[in-house]
């Protein structure tokens, strides 16, 4: 029997790695992947707790998260493609036209 704490720690580690990816990488695709990793970490915690409390709500929430993630990826990737088409470059640091 694995204590739920282990899963939670694993989830936290994966989440941190994802956050680090978002912050340190300049490739928007990898940033995207890091976000997916963070979502996965959260999902893992959900499923772990669902298993502890023996309820389906956590799993169903994960189900919705997966669906939303799929939608997000579809639109996000389309945006990245579109940005690339106009700027010929996807370096995220080049996209700073919001500068105040």
């Amino acid at each position: 029997m694995v204590p739920v704490d282990y899963y939670v720690v694993l989830s936290a580690i994966l989440f941190t790695i994802g956050a680090l990816g978002v912050l340190s990488r300049r490739n928007p695709l990898i940033i995207f992947m890091s976000i997916e990793l963070m979502l996965n970490a959260a999902n893992l915690a959900f499923v772990a707790f669902a298993s502890v409390y023996e309820t389906f709500s956590g799993q169903i929430f994960v189900f919705f998260v997966i669906a939303v993630a799929a939608a997000e990826v579809a639109v996000g990737l389309a945006l990245i493609v579109e940005i690339f088409k106009t700027k010929k470059n996807i370096n995220i640091d080049e996209m700073n036209s919001l500068k105040g």
Binding site: V8, V9, A74, F84
Partner: protein
């Protein structure tokens, strides 16, 4: 040390390793492939936690559809690696520092607040059977019917958004 724990430790090592691999790969294709591996390990965790449906969804949607999409886009744009720039010198150290603090805080919080000493239920036979799937479907289509339908609309909207965004503009006459 039970066999469950050994399996868990091995798998979590793999998961962390693949996550770090994704983070540090210079080539985006490698990153994507590492992430696929990571997703697969997480899917195995789901199986261990008695959530076969989520595990299958993870494999098909994440590891299958989404990551394939990523690979397509990476190769389509030729964005395997970017020329190094140095526009934000403080970004990386600050990011590492904050992430470490975040990780410590999260672990601390979760362990303190989330009621430790609880063990995950063993994936017994009944949970893995068709019954549990039926139970979940019943719950999904009764208690969560409205969010479920809304999700379908969300997916539809996302699809249309993607189509509109990437559509080839015809020459305006």
């Amino acid at each position: 040390m039970s066999s469950d724990l050994i399996v868990f430790l091995v798998l979590s090592l793999v998961a962390i390793a693949t996550a770090l691999g994704m983070l540090f790969s210079q080539n985006a294709v490698y990153s994507a492939l590492f992430l696929v591996l990571n997703f697969v390990t997480v899917a195995i965790f789901y199986l261990l936690l008695g959530a076969p449906f989520i595990a299958m969804a993870q494999i098909t949607v994440y590891a299958g559809a989404i990551m394939v999409l990523f690979l397509f886009v990476i190769m389509l744009l030729g964005a395997e690696s970017l020329a190094p720039t140095n526009s934000l010198p403080w970004q990386k150290p600050m990011a590492i520092l904050l992430s470490v603090i975040l990780g410590v805080e999260a672990v601390y919080l979760l362990l303190n607040r989330a009621g430790s000493n609880l063990a995950v239920a063993a994936p017994d036979a009944s949970l893995n059977s068709m019954d549990s799937l039926r139970e979940m479907a019943m719950s999904l289509f009764n208690n969560f019917l409205l969010p479920f339908e809304v999700t379908s609309i969300l997916l539809l909207v996302a699809m249309m958004g993607a189509i509109v965004l990437t559509r080839q503009e015809k020459e305006a006459k």
